[in-house]
């Protein structure tokens, strides 16, 4: 392929390969599902996708640093429950702050256990997923907690600026923040190095414990914003809110081209992956498929993405090194 001869090829080559997957999927969906390309529908896809995007940014940080985060699903549920309970006593702003803080709390516990006690991220966050779901259900008393409509809780998720929904604007700004964090800070760079080779990162003098801890806390900041928007959308405290969220974030990252083995990835990869998942979810709705078809699709996408990422290593020759 002589891509180097084309104008603008430099820019093209810097784009992740997954962008072509996105283009193909959007083209196919737009072609065969007439309902897709309407402004109203696209706005809706983006509005829903914004929550997944913010949560996926958190997952991106954790994956790059060589970890994985399952607890995303339950921490947004905890956020909604804490907010819904707090709003009965406190002004909305403070209640939302409490909900946000609860997610940061989950992230900090993840970080402490993984960075300082050197426990496996897989087990810690899976444990936290169950523990926090249970905790949220206990606090809520087993049932969803309603938030009275007069509180104006819908503003965050329901309003728009010049036709662009707030969540989409927030997700866009957050993508920029994630880019800066990953590409232009020493902390972000250290996550790549830690995820690429933990022992080598230690030998170069990178502060492992602090930086791994901060990966989970800063991931929780992005998840926290997702939690707030989600809470605003459902206007209730639901202990079982969005149970597939951690898996959707992993699928989005995998499809976007972020290896689940750590050390690589970017904000752009996450955005691409999120749009693919959001468009496919929308296609299922437009096709009138039952909602549970979405789960199977998610599984297929995730396994498919992991296979696609592994392809080069299948074809790589034996392990004789250059001598």
């Amino acid at each position: 392929m002589k891509m180097a001869d084309l104008p603008g090829s430099h820019l093209l080559r810097r784009l992740p390969v997954s962008i072509w997957g996105l283009v193909v999927i959007v083209a196919l969906v737009a072609l065969f599902l007439p309902g897709f390309a309407r402004i109203g529908n696209i706005t809706n896809v983006l509005r829903v996708g914004a929550i997944l995007a913010l949560a996926s940014y958190g997952q991106t940080i954790v994956l790059i640093s060589g970890g994985i985060d399952f607890s995303i699903g339950s921490s947004v549920a905890l956020c909604s429950v804490v907010t819904a309970l707090a709003v009965q006593q406190l002004p909305l702003g403070l209640a939302l702050t409490a909900g946000f803080a609860s997610i940061i709390g989950v992230g900090a516990i993840n970080g402490l256990l993984i960075a300082y006690l050197k426990l496996s991220p897989f087990l810690v966050t899976l444990g936290m997923l169950l523990l926090v779901h249970g905790f949220a259900a206990i606090v809520a008393g087993g049932l969803p907690v309603e938030v009275p409509d007069r509180e104006g809780i819908h503003t965050l998720s329901g309003s728009d600026l010049l036709g662009v929904p707030y969540p989409v604007i927030i997700a866009g700004l957050a993508a920029g923040a994630l880019y800066l964090l990953l590409e232009r800070t020493t902390l972000g760079r250290s996550w790549f190095l830690i995820g690429s080779n933990l022992a080598a990162a230690a030998a170069t003098g990178i502060r492992l414990r602090r930086n791994i801890f901060l990966a989970y806390v800063l991931a929780a900041v992005f998840v926290g914003v997702a939690g707030l928007i989600l809470t605003s959308r459902v206007a209730a405290g639901e202990p079982n809110l969005y149970p597939t969220l951690p898996f959707e974030t992993m699928a989005a990252c995998a499809v976007g081209g972020i290896p689940l083995t750590g050390g690589r990835g970017s904000a752009l990869n996450a955005v691409i992956g999120v749009i693919v998942i959001a468009v496919l979810n929308n296609a299922i709705v437009l096709l009138n498929f039952p909602a549970y078809a979405q789960l199977s699709l998610l599984g297929i996408i995730m396994v498919g993405a992991v296979i696609a990422q592994g392809m080069p290593s299948w074809t790589r020759p034996s392990r004789i090194r250059s001598l």
């Binding site: 800070t185 790549f192 170069t204 050390g263 034996s318 004789i320 090194r321």
Partner: protein, 526 residues
């Protein structure tokens, strides 16, 4: 006290009766595997331009060449891991084209790689029959008495004395290497391909390996031996092929009639100078480790290194030499003792972050385990220790990174000089140069600890790394060089500290002979 099984030859290795149980599979000197006019092209680059290689039964054939000379490509073709663009491969006179490593294995070509393919959690016995177990669909472990007997024969054949039920993780590196060979031989092996087999071995283990190889050769097995180490080639090989730029510059010459000087010149393409190095004059003490012990109950070790001094540290594998190097680098926590730079103690022991802040650089023993960041370019690999100094207004400055580290990489003669190339795509020698550059880029570096800085590195890169180590010392760094390459150690060091059983036993002065160092390591003259 003689320690452990990896020292000294095994009495059984000369047991002729055992060898006789396995008849030579081919008459000695019969041509086993032959490559004629082999060309391999990757896109527009020609890795091989008509290479020839004739491997005979009962002969140890050395294959040498610098990085990028085409050695790996040729070996890959021979073991079925790559297909030549043109040319002929013949096995015992019949042209073959191996489609994959398994076909080459079936034909009796057994490769043993640098990276171990043993299963550390399984026993010696289980490892020996790992492939048979995997291939058999039934229950493993039946006919176990017969299996144990043939396992013992397999071990005897190469003189390896370990227990069949011992877990592989408890073996020394050298024993693992021999076990891997024993397993390979179990598969009707005609030709053994060894890629840099002594890279991680101590001198004693290397001697055992060589004894085993000679034994195999005399039983009719052909051996292709790939190595950078000229002194080893001189010891072990019968004939030699040297590749340069994809062409055979020496083709199957008998080693007896070929001088080392000829071989090295053939490899690098110009005369190679093996003269004495001029070491800088030593100044005030910089790096000091006082009363240090890694584990409770270990003897205390105290070492002081002065500015511009190169301290060599030598010890057999398992002697604790590498650990003492890591303690000097602040990479391993000691249970006792203090590490200090210019008289100031380095805060937390075993924490490289504080050691780097104190000015201690470190090139660890195994670049792929704790040196490199795969998937990232050379520049990012080099900048890892200086990230905090590359910020502008709190943000990482890519231009500062590129300018500063490109200079550092040019300074170590990175080849090709492409800082944006992935580290995985560089040769071992150049990866090692990047690790050196990573440390030399630290502005206020005061001491540099290098463990095996030229392991598995070609002659040219080795020369450049040695040169940069000398330059670093001349600029006033205190340098610690832990190495099992005794030539490197004796030619570069002001003095050589000998470590045995985790104890600093003696110190040899400048220009001690490699043989003297080897003797001291083994505990002679004590």
């Amino acid at each position: 006290m003689t320690s452990a099984s990896n020292v000294g030859p095994d009495p059984r290795s000369s047991d002729a009766a055992v060898i006789a149980t396995r008849q030579p599979q081919a008459a000695t000197n019969e041509v086993l595997l032959e490559a004629r006019a082999v060309v391999k092209e990757y896109g527009s680059t020609k890795a091989l331009q008509g290479a020839n290689l004739v491997l005979r039964a009962g002969r140890i054939h050395a294959l040498m060449g610098e990085n990028g000379a085409g050695k790996s490509t040729l070996v890959q073709i021979l073991v079925g891991a790559a297909v030549p663009t043109s040319g002929v491969i013949a096995m015992q006179g019949r042209p073959v084209s191996f489609d994959g490593v398994s076909e080459a294995l079936a034909a009796g070509v057994v490769p043993i790689y640098q990276q171990s393919s043993l299963f550390p959690n399984l026993t010696v016995l289980e490892n020996l029959f790992a492939f048979e177990t995997a291939a058999s669909h039934g229950v493993a472990g039946h006919k176990s008495a017969r299996r144990r007997r043939s396992a013992k024969q397999m071990l005897n054949r190469i003189g390896l004395a370990v227990l069949l039920d011992q877990p592989v993780a408890s073996l020394s590196l050298g024993e693992k290497q021999l076990l891997e060979i024993a397993r390979g031989l179990g598969r009707d092996c005609k030709l053994l391909v060894l890629d840099e087999p002594t890279a991680a071995l101590s001198q004693a283990d290397t001697n055992r390996l060589f004894a085993a190889l000679r034994q195999l050769a005399s039983a009719g097995v052909g051996i292709l031996y790939i190595s950078h180490k000229t002194n080893e080639i001189a010891q072990i090989a019968d004939e030699i092929t040297v590749l340069r730029d994809g062409v055979c510059v020496i083709s199957g010459a008998p080693l007896k009639s070929t001088s080392m000087q000829t071989i090295v010149s053939a490899m690098v393409g110009h005369a190679f100078n093996v003269g004495e190095k001029n070491l800088p004059v030593v100044r005030a003490p910089v790096l000091a480790l006082v009363g240090a012990a890694l584990r409770i109950g270990d003897p205390e070790v105290s070492i002081t290194v002065r500015a511009s001094e190169i301290l060599g540290i030598a010890g057999l594998a398992g002697s604790g030499a590498e650990e003492i190097g890591a303690m000097l680098a602040g990479a391993l926590a000691c249970s006792r003792g203090v590490l200090s730079v210019n008289g100031r103690p380095v805060g937390r022991s075993g924490d490289r972050a504080t050691a780097v802040a104190a000015g201690i650089g470190y090139v660890p023993a195994d670049r792929s385990v704790d040196g490199l960041f795969p998937g990232h370019d050379a520049l990012r690999n080099a900048s890892a220790s200086v990230l905090d100094h590359l910020t502008k207004f709190g943000l990482l400055s890519r231009s500062a990174e590129s300018i500063r580290l490109s200079a550092a990489l040019t300074n170590v003669s990175l080849t090709p000089n492409q800082p944006r190339r992935l580290i995985d795509e560089f040769s071992g020698g150049n990866q090692q140069k990047v690790l050196l550059a990573r440390n030399l880029a630290v502005a206020d570096i005061k001491a540099l600890v290098l463990v095996e800085p030229t392991r598995g590195v070609d002659v040219g890169a080795r020369d450049i790394i040695h040169d940069r180590i000398l330059m670093a010392a001349a600029e006033g760094l205190a340098v610690v060089l832990v190495s099992t390459d005794l030539e490197e150690l004796t030619s570069l060091s002001h003095r050589v500290a000998i470590i045995r059983d985790r104890r600093l036993t003696t110190e040899l002065p400048r220009l001690s002979s490699p043989a003297a160092v080897a003797g001291a390591m083994l505990g002679e003259n004590q």
